[in-house]
Amino acid sequence: MGSNYLIREGIKNVFKNKKATMISLITMICAMFLFGTFFAIGENVNSVLEQVQKSQGMEVFIQNEATDEQTSELEMKIKALDGINTVTFKSKQEALDLMKENLKDNQDLLEGYEGEKNIFPASFIVTLTDLSLATEIEAKIETMENVKKITSNNDTINTLMKIANGIKIAIGAISVILLMISITIIANTIRLTVHARRKEISIMKYVGATNHFIRWPFIIEGIIIGVLAAGITILIVGAMYDFVIQAIEQSNILQTMGVTLLQFPEIVNLIAIAYVILGIGVGMIGSSISMKKYLEV
């Protein structure tokens, strides 16, 4: 029953100090909004990079002597490797057609290489789920039978990896800084609330209340405000997100890059979990930190 009383007191506090509640709520929403915006941008950058990475890969040329059976055996072996996204077969004819297409007006250069005389080797286009495995996979495929040679755009891969890592580090650092700023602002807001009620706290202490007994209503108040702020911010971020995504998708930039952005439902769970943890955590830690000073009576 003791805890019931403390929870009731916490809920009462939320409505009793309307001004302080509003200030804490607005501060928390602002901090969470910034955090959420960067989180959403970060998730999308990651997702786009992943999509680009997955379209990168290598071309494994097959020995001309290889039989159909040996070819499909090779395909099975490649597919069995870790980190393989797709394996697409390109026949000799397809290779020739592609070359013709590339030569455009000079197609006559290739006359006489049709059919039996086709000098272009068949190949597998291999794409990867994780570009950092590229070198390792390439080495493994090279040792397989009937592999003539492998070409890969290593430079592109390396550049992409560098960009991806750079962006991940930048977004991570910004998120951490924002998180620290949020905690500081919120802890300060709570400190003001506690300061305004220092007399009340000291009276409770004189009557023989334990720190635990005094602290919990404040912590519960912090949690309620945190969860409330989380809910409101999710609605705001959701509305903004859909609006921005629609604007970007209408501009066709993404289609030319061959990538898509995440829809809000795909990231809402992560944001919601982050917010609830943030709200409860900051509410709890903030309340405890800011109360410490006033509990020493």
């Binding site: 029953m1 009793k16 009276i203 409770m204 009557v207």
Partner: protein, 195 residues
Amino acid sequence: MEHLAHGKSTLIKLILKEEEVSRGNIIINGKDITYLKPRRVPYLRRSMGVVFQDFRLLPDKTVYENVAFAMYIVKATPKHIRRQVPMVLSLVGLSNKAKMYPNELSGGEQQRVALARALVNNPTMIIADEPTGNLDPETAWDIMSLLNEINSRGTTVVMATHAKDIVDNMKKRVIEINAGVIVRDDKKGGYDSGK
């Protein structure tokens, strides 16, 4: 009892463990509390009821809630609280003001609420620091007769005051403190006796 700023408030603060002793020991009910752990201080305070000059009521709680608060602290059952609080409020004569807030009450009424809060957990001792200091003489006597009644029911009342007429009229044990030193301890004394 003693002169202003001669150590009576310090004594009360020492008993409540609000201040640490620089020398000597504090023994309450045979228990040495000189080096009581901070964690245990709330439990010490619960064993006695405390009344202050400035009442120290929680401003946003009603009379009833202020008294009930002291019982919530000791984790009393709701049933016990519902029975005990009205009883104590009727003892101090405030049954009809249970739903009012401290700022709606007179000084004397507020002090009676504080007294009810001090009494509600049936402590063996009531500590009163200048309980009549902010009250007019007539109201002060109401409070004193209440304290006297509480005392006659078997509760020790330790009261710090410099009000001469109260000390003279109560004819209780008087301990005079001057500059932090006990200079007199009379079984049934007045303010100036012995001088």
